[in-house]
Amino acid sequence: MSLTLILEQSLNGLQFGLMLFLLAAGLTLVFGIMDMINLAHGSLYMVGAFLAATLVQATGSFTLGVLLSIPATAVVGMLLEISVLRTLYARDHLSQVLATFALILIINEVVRMIWGSDMPLSAPAALSGPVQLLPGMPYSAYRLLIIGVGLAVAVLLYFVVAKTRIGMLVRAGASNREMALAMGVDIKKLFTLVFGFGAGLCAIAGALLAPIFAVQVGMGENILILAFVVIVIGGIGSIRGALVGSILVGMVDTMGRAFMPAILREVLTPAFASAAGPALASILIYVLMAGVLFWRPQGLFPARG
């Protein structure tokens, strides 16, 4: 187990974690501020990817297409909030889960009607090769781009949430909604804004991950589960928690897939290790979540003291 291998796997984990963060950040804000469980968050990720694929085709430029898909998805998100989700805030969580689950099914079919079941979207040719990161360690240029964008968005998000007036209102809403209301915050407008913002982050994740995964109907459901794991680990409503949680999940998932079979082979028979390794690696993040819930039921960085 060489150092370059561990370094490369760390980069892989970081790349996956940062993309999870983009999803989890929006989800945790909506959950924390509006006390709303939005299962349809993954659908916005899918819509973002489809919009990006369409816009990249239309403009002929990967960068332009991805950039345009962000406001476009934010608009879709805000329309969704104004038309449907707004009426759900006052309901209990069960109604929210049922209603937003219905939204997943509806949006899946609408996307299928508009675009068909999948769309092609490849990384730009300039980034499809490797970059020599260290001697003996080339790394995919496109994955480096994802890491760069992910870090930039995380910094930007921190700045917005910690240093701006909007961010202050968001934090106020997350830590004590009633008090924020009582202080005269226009909660309606704030909610729509936060929702649109979350949708924009979804679009970034959807568009950037598309060349690594695939742009297809139903792509949001699998990753949504991971995003929920992240916000449970990080603490609901906390951006910092979402960041730590995502990188933790990204690292544990990648390292598990990479090293679990080898570790098991040391202690068990090879036949059993090769059968149990992949299975164990895929449940590792849930074990992590269970552990966090056991010792810190509020998550690692709870938004509410």
Partner: protein, 396 residues
């Protein structure tokens, strides 16, 4: 008042259902009903689309008939989910009362769905999935294969790697029946060192962690069994990670056929694979199939399409030999077993377990005279090759 109303409704439904049932059975002999379950959505849809299109092409070239009977197709998308495949099989067998079931791409979906056909004594003609359990002890008289036993391409690939003298090979396959069959097949004929054997989640699309492990292991060759979208993503990421310069990638034939080439493009050039079929196999059936397929669908067929075309030819030959009397299920079964026809890879021959016996070829991805990226046949790896399980099968 409520009860009588409900009773009336129920009774009228029963009457309608009964009349439909009577109508259904009365018209059974004048057409051939085929239930077609395949994967038509998601990243692996290209395979199912090829299988469906090739079957439809055979039908069209035959004037909408197979064995002289007009064909009624019931096509369903299993969405790459075993439970959906099983539901479709139940529907086609019990409700639509199909005469023959076919179409499934993936072994896990097949294993979930075929018992429905076996229990109802309906033949299943497999245009792709041919898992090892059904080749050996659990072989079934109602199960026919026009593709190749799950292990076969991989056995040929293992033989090729041995012949080439690769000292170490890294193996990757999805964690499901066909994945395990594939690596078992490769290892059966590979004499070098297996540097690592990795099973990934079926349907996984991001291979960053696995690729880093491959780089660290420094094998001479890398063998992957990753059909459909999994392979497209893997090969792109393999090239993206800069591994293609140092490690020779080998795949089974379907792992680098037209569906994958369409998705990946130029980086595929120079890759070796093994298959029982190729675009350039020189026989009358294949020349007609390739030309007509390209004319009809404006793309080149992948190996899946050839298998499905063969499935249609097999059904055609069988139904013809019993003069369209498909309501006699036992006769239909025997006719399928004895079906004689010229397939896309020459005369078709079944083993005792009703899996084919055929040649396997080494192919290389290169450019043809029109500059298109295609597979070219360069050598024969196995002649008249069966499978390692047939002797466990009790059928004669």
């Amino acid at each position: 008042m409520r009860k009588p109303l409900a009773a009336t409704v129920a009774r009228s439904f029963a009457v309608v259902a009964a009349s439909l049932f009577v109508a259904g059975t009365a018209s059974a002999a004048d057409k051939l009903k085929i239930g077609f379950i395949t994967t038509l959505s998601g990243p692996n849809a290209a395979i199912g689309v090829d299988i469906r299109d090739a079957f439809n092409l055979a039908l069209k070239l035959n004037g909408g008939k197979l064995g002289g009977l007009p064909v009624q197709m019931e096509i369903g998308d299993d969405q790459f989910k075993p439970e959906v495949g099983k539901q479709l099989a139940e529907k086609y067998v019990r409700l639509d009362k199909v005469d023959i079931l076919t179409g499934i791409v993936f072994s896990n979906i097949l294993l979930a769905s075929v018992p429905e056909a076996f229990n109802a004594r309906i033949p299943y003609v497999s245009p792709n999935a041919a898992p090892s359990p059904l080749a050996g002890k659990q072989c079934n008289p109602w199960f026919f294969v026009t593709s190749w036993p799950n292990d076969a391409f991989h056995e040929a690939a293992g033989k090729h790697a041995t012949d080439k003298g690769y000292k170490s090979t890294y193996l990757i396959a999805p964690n499901y029946q066909a994945g395990k069959d594939s690596l078992a097949g490769f290892k059966r004929y590979y004499k070098g060192k297996v540097s690592e054997e990795v099973y990934t989640k079926l349907g996984q699309l991001d291979y960053s962690a696995e690729l880093a492990q491959v780089r660290a292991a420094r094998p001479e060759a890398l063998y992957i069994f990753l059909p459909g979208g999994m392979g497209v993503n893997f090969i792109k990421q393999f090239v993206g990670a800069g591994l293609s310069k140092d490690i020779q990638l080998i795949t089974p034939g379907f792992g680098s056929d037209q569906d994958v080439i369409r998705g990946v493009g130029e980086p595929m050039l120079g890759l070796f694979d093994t298959s029982h079929w190729a675009l350039d196999l020189d026989n009358a059936t294949n020349r007609k199939f390739v030309a007509e397929f390209e004319k009809e669908y404006k793309r080149l067929p992948a190996v899946f399409a050839a298998q499905s075309y063969d499935a249609a030819l097999m059904i055609d030959a069988a139904v013809k030999s019993i003069k369209g009397k498909v309501e006699d299920k036992e006769a239909l079964r025997r006719a399928l077993k004895g079906a004689k026809f010229e397939s896309t890879h020459g005369p078709f021959k079944l083993n005792t377990n009703q899996y084919p016996i055929q040649n396997y070829y080494l192919r290389v991805v290169g450019k043809d005279s029109q500059g298109r990226i295609v597979n070219k046949t360069i050598a024969t790896v196995f002649k008249d090759h069966g499978d390692a399980y047939a002797h466990e099968c009790g059928m004669k």
